[in-house]
């Protein structure tokens, strides 16, 4: 999969716009079980990403991802800054410039590990990892209907955080009262994955032909 400036603009721009658009929903989720600033923080961070979009999209993909990550670290203002910042920076560090699906999967895996380390967290703790880990598994599986399964996996994984009890983050203060609400970080991760998949699908990227072409190189 070659990642040209047009695709970089769309991927980064649409993820950022999606976070800005869903700010109120994310904040409402966070008001139920956290400190009620997730949407506001993500909006602040991703508005800064949008402001730099021209400059960022001109960089090679790995560098662009690192730049997005650093902007989030510096601008978000809550724990989601270092967490999403680490996700993007680690992804940029591990991603080849023209990645195959296997290359994407490998880089994504490294990024998920980095988020686990940053948050001292893992699955079943009612966090963004409860979405990222199942999505990673779906990427690794690959297959014909990959886009649809990635979307389905992201959505069902976010919904699966509703009955969970929070172990990490501010929601853990609530103990059993955190049960019954979707985790805001799981929701923002699910939105990001869905947006990336939508863009790749509409651009016809990461298709079977693409992989075959990459494999025959």
């Amino acid at each position: 999969m070659s990642i040209d400036t047009h695709l970089k603009r769309r991927l980064i721009g649409e993820v950022a716009r999606c976070m800005v658009t869903h700010a109120e929903e994310l904040t409402a989720l966070d008001q139920a079980i956290g400190d009620g600033d997730h949407g506001l923080n993500m909006k602040r961070g991703f508005e800064a990403v949008l402001a730099d979009l021209d400059k960022t999209a001109a960089l090679p993909m790995p560098e662009a991802l690192k730049a997005v990550g650093m902007t989030l670290v510096m601008k978000v203002g809550g724990a989601s800054g270092p967490l999403y910042g680490t996700l993007f920076m680690a992804l940029g560090k591990a991603l080849p410039e023209s990645p195959t699906r296997a290359g994407v999967a490998q880089a994504f895996s490294a990024a998920v590990d980095a988020v686990k380390a940053r948050g001292k967290s893992d699955v079943q703790m009612k966090t963004m990892l409860d979405v990222l880990v199942p999505v990673l598994a779906a990427v690794n599986e690959g297959g014909e209907d990959l886009y649809a399964r990635l979307r389905g996996s992201a959505q069902s994984a976010a919904a699966a955080t509703i009955p969970m009890q929070a172990v990490r983050g501010r929601a853990s203060f609530l103990g059993a009262r955190s049960v019954g609400h979707m985790d805001p970080g799981a929701r923002s991760s699910s939105l990001m994955v869905t947006t990336v998949v939508d863009v790749l699908e509409s651009e016809g990227r990461m298709t079977k032909q693409d992989e075959n072409r990459a494999a025959s190189r």
């Binding site: 400190d35 602040r44 510096m74 203002g77 809550g78 270092p82 940053r118 501010r170």
Partner: protein, 136 residues
Amino acid sequence: MTAKHKIANNVGIVIVSHSPDVARGAADMVRQMVGDEVPLAWCGGAPGGGLGTNVEAILAAIDQAWSEAGVAILVDLGGAETNSEMAVEMLSEERRSRVVICDAPVVEGAVMAGTEASAGSTLDQVRRTAEELRAR
């Protein structure tokens, strides 16, 4: 040893809260205990205002409270800790090994750490004193 020399050799204290009012207030309490004997800096609030923490401001506070003996950071909740860890990772290698984030309540921890630091204690002693307050 001049007073100035002594200050520069004491461990520095950085207070990081989501609220600038809390951070400033905690810093006032430390000052009242230890006067000017300890390098002290605070920061609070998200980039651009509102409750939250700001990596850039944390880096600036570490710089302001820098001491060759090291810097102990006291944080309040969640993002304050994660953002402080991020800031510490962004320091030069030479400084990074001399900054610790204390697992202690921010106000009481800052006062205890400041008092310990004013006695000329090592960074590790300062941290251990603050962490005696850790919630169990």
